[in-house]
Symmetry: D3
Subunit: 210 residues, 6 copies
């Protein structure tokens, strides 16, 4: 990347960190303050998305936890799987709805709309997956994910059998449960630090790109 | 370490993976099958603890998630903090109690007993921190952690103010909330895969070492 | 109104009733089948909104209940009040969030965005009013409304005193509680008949009018 | 009606509004203050029941909401239906029990006893319909009504199928759900304004008329 | 007692045990089958009350548990106390309301009406003690009793302090908590065996004795 | 028993009552203060167990309730039954886990370990019976017991049928439900008076006797 490009990115991201209202209860580092690997990741996501999602800026307050968080995220979400990218995001949105996490509903709702190419499905899944425009298989997937999110003590063989009847492999089930478990962490971190979703997310995926 | 020693370790750990009943719903890799870094970590913990906690063997089914999981764990639990090692484990045990996670209550209960040099405190904290032999400050810490674990949507400035009155810094509060959030993930993974605590944990820290 | 105009309206509304997927578990009457007063109301709302919200079409299955429903709605929502129009819609959206009612969150979320001239506030209030970009007075209003929605048995003098401290009159409090109570009915009817929000609502108020 | 009769009624009702303790947190209008249509309705119910149920006096504080409330009530409760009058009141009493609404349990409990000609059934249904002296069909009806009252988000095709197996038509199911939904409103209004049941209701229908 | 009198009592009680519908899921012994001490107690209560409350007949299926149950009941309820007899019954009725126990609400509701010489208070306390015609001190008593009944893990010094401010001694507090605890047992036994309240209880204490 | 032996016992027990921290919110009588029958029972249990469980000392504050409590306990727990002694204690431990009662989990956990000759089963059953090393029949027994403990209003014929399919007789079912009901009382008393488990219990049954 040419130096000029890097400068523009850095300025743009820096500007984002000065936005009001606050995006975290905790200090948000400037790009300049960050370790190289974290700054690089942030610039990369900015390049791709056109803005820096606040989860990157707010969690960067603790670099080691940042690295582990996104390593876990990538291991689950980027993994080859029997679940489509949209299905993985459905799990994120549905369980974040159950945990009342504003950041994750708004940010991953946007991602879900984009992956599913469907402007309605995120709001549907966040409130009541039973009434969403999704398949019976996807509803079974979300019922399982919500049980992991809200009542994991009661998981039993019957729950696994139901998913297998819908054609999910055991590795798919680990993906479903693992994503629900990871966002149990993520939702609580966002609520803890009062992570604010970027304004950009609210509209993303609702209108055709121009 | 001499080669002979290494061999003995490997055999011993391998033997542990053949134990009955099952320690996971998912396949448990043998040491030989594991990537070098993960095998090394497992041998290291075995050297230190005298056995391999099942969380290492069962999560090794997915090496990338294993690495992220323990990186996150170490970032939070090994970090210099205003919380003592015993206090961090109290948070683990209390929130695992709220989530009814057998593995974490039993395994981290043992660690708590050892760090606190107190054979009673783990069972107390797992059931009802209000009646535990701990300080008022520690009770406030656990009340906050349990709110993160079970009702994070309702966290507000008052909750932070209460902890500050007890002398916790904002970084300490991140530690408290972060550990509660991480074990929200951990408890759900253990319940998902039906992770079984090693028999060894039940007695650890209850009797003086001989 | 000229005849031609009336015809166009009727055709357009009729077309809406043929949409798929179903907007109700129950039969949806065509405009032609409806009593005159109900058809007139529907045409009026269509003229104003540019489309017919599905609540009008689906509840028209039972004309007497339709009339009473909208008479109640108008009595509460159109009444002069110490609450602004946006504040009334905040109550609708927050309590519909607590009741997981997709129709009311989506439809009244749109109305709230328009009244508040704020594209973000509806999603915020639907998930967690504590983190919304609203005033402390509005947060107290929503805390009361949510208590009416979810635990009205426990309402007591202290709840009224808190609202009075925020400057609400007793009539304002009736408005707050009354709207929460009316949407307790409305949310349950929408869930009962599986009322589907119009696709139009999802985007309304999110982008500047052109 | 002769003039003298009308006068006596007005005096009697006026006397009722001066009773202590308070029947509402809000001002209760005298008959003289009321719009003609509302006064007429109140005098009519007094003529029939021998006293004026407090719901009429307390809700008359807001005439427009009063009219809509009773229009909705009549549309649902007086409608020809596959449900008997007693069955409709069972739904009211059972869901009001779930919402802990004293006014509705006591007042509609009396009406249920009268319609069912059964002095025991109202107390049974208010506490635990499973142990009430009612038919299996009525128990299925109340299980559905309670799901509408307390967990309407989870209503699904299976719930409708169960009621159809018990011989309920789809219109009957709307009646069941609609009554549960209407009393979700009614219970919250009664709890909001602290509506007090008339003393008369407690004994009504418990002893044979003399 | 003359022999003739004894015979009449026995016949009358025997007749009660043949009533339909069933008063228990379990066999109900006839008076003749009972151990002498239990028969004597039953005849005594019948002499006093005019009928045999079904709790005596249904629990007599297991004489040892019967004896312990009533010994516990008498130790708590007949004990000299800072609580009046009516106040003790308020605790029974309020906590039985929280546990949805039909037998205890109906039977002890009757006893409460008689002790309090108040035909309304039992129905009020069973549904919502906040709106009952009782003193602030009695409301504090019932708030504590309900916490014992539904959330005893969270009892703390503050709860004791609140009751002491209302003038309750520590022994009074044991009485309050003890009665709530005893009826936690009693409510569950009644629900387990489907104990049916005698029809007589429903009307008792509602009308002046003649 | 020789006099010397009696003296040693008394001294030893007396010493236990002076232990710190407090074992009850209420005064704990010395052995000398106690009625003869209660002192005899306490000395008997001390002789057998080697120490006096605190439930005996703390409940002795009220001799009549003490007598009734242990009479009830013995009637249920010592009764000949289709349940083994270990199974009865499983019910105690599982329901005490649901009620978060520290005393009962710790004390009866010890007894369960001893009866079951299994050092792990108590901790398993206290947290999640689904993952305990017990039979399917025992899991069905605990599912029923937990329903009695937490939702007895919903018990129905289906619950009885399920247990009968597992080979339980109706008398066995009374035992299961009765023990769950009795510990509903016991758990609340322990939480009310802040009964502290003896330190001895924590280790009992975890290591082979020497």
């Amino acid at each position: 990347m040419a130096m000029g490009a890097e400068c523009r990115c850095a300025k743009r991201a820096a500007k984002l960190t000065r936005m009001t209202p606050a995006i975290s209860r905790y200090p948000v580092p400037t790009l300049a303050e960050l370790p190289d690997d974290i700054r690089a990741r942030i610039l990369e996501v900015q390049e791709k998305a056109g803005f820096v999602p606040n989860v990157f800026l707010t969690l960067a307050h603790r670099p080691d936890e940042f690295r582990a968080f996104f390593a876990y995220h990538d291991a689950l979400l980027l993994r080859d799987s029997g679940l489509s990218k949209a299905e993985k995001e459905m799990i994120v949105v549905a369980t974040s709805g159950a945990n009342d996490c504003l950041y994750c509903i708004v940010a991953h709702g946007a991602i879900l709309r984009i992956y599913a190419k469907n402007p309605l499905v995120a709001d549907q899944v966040a409130v009541n997956y039973r009434k969403a425009d999704i398949t019976a298989r996807q509803k079974a997937m979300l019922a399982f994910a919500l049980k992991v999110a809200t009542n994991s003590v009661a998981l039993d063989d019957g729950d696994f059998a139901t998913l297998r009847e819908h054609g999910f492999s055991d590795e798919d089930i680990w993906d479903i449960g693992g994503i629900a478990a990871f966002f149990a962490l993520s939702n609580r971190m966002a609520n803890l630090i009062s992570m604010r979703p970027n304004d950009d997310f609210y509209l993303l995926g609702r209108v055709p790109k121009t």
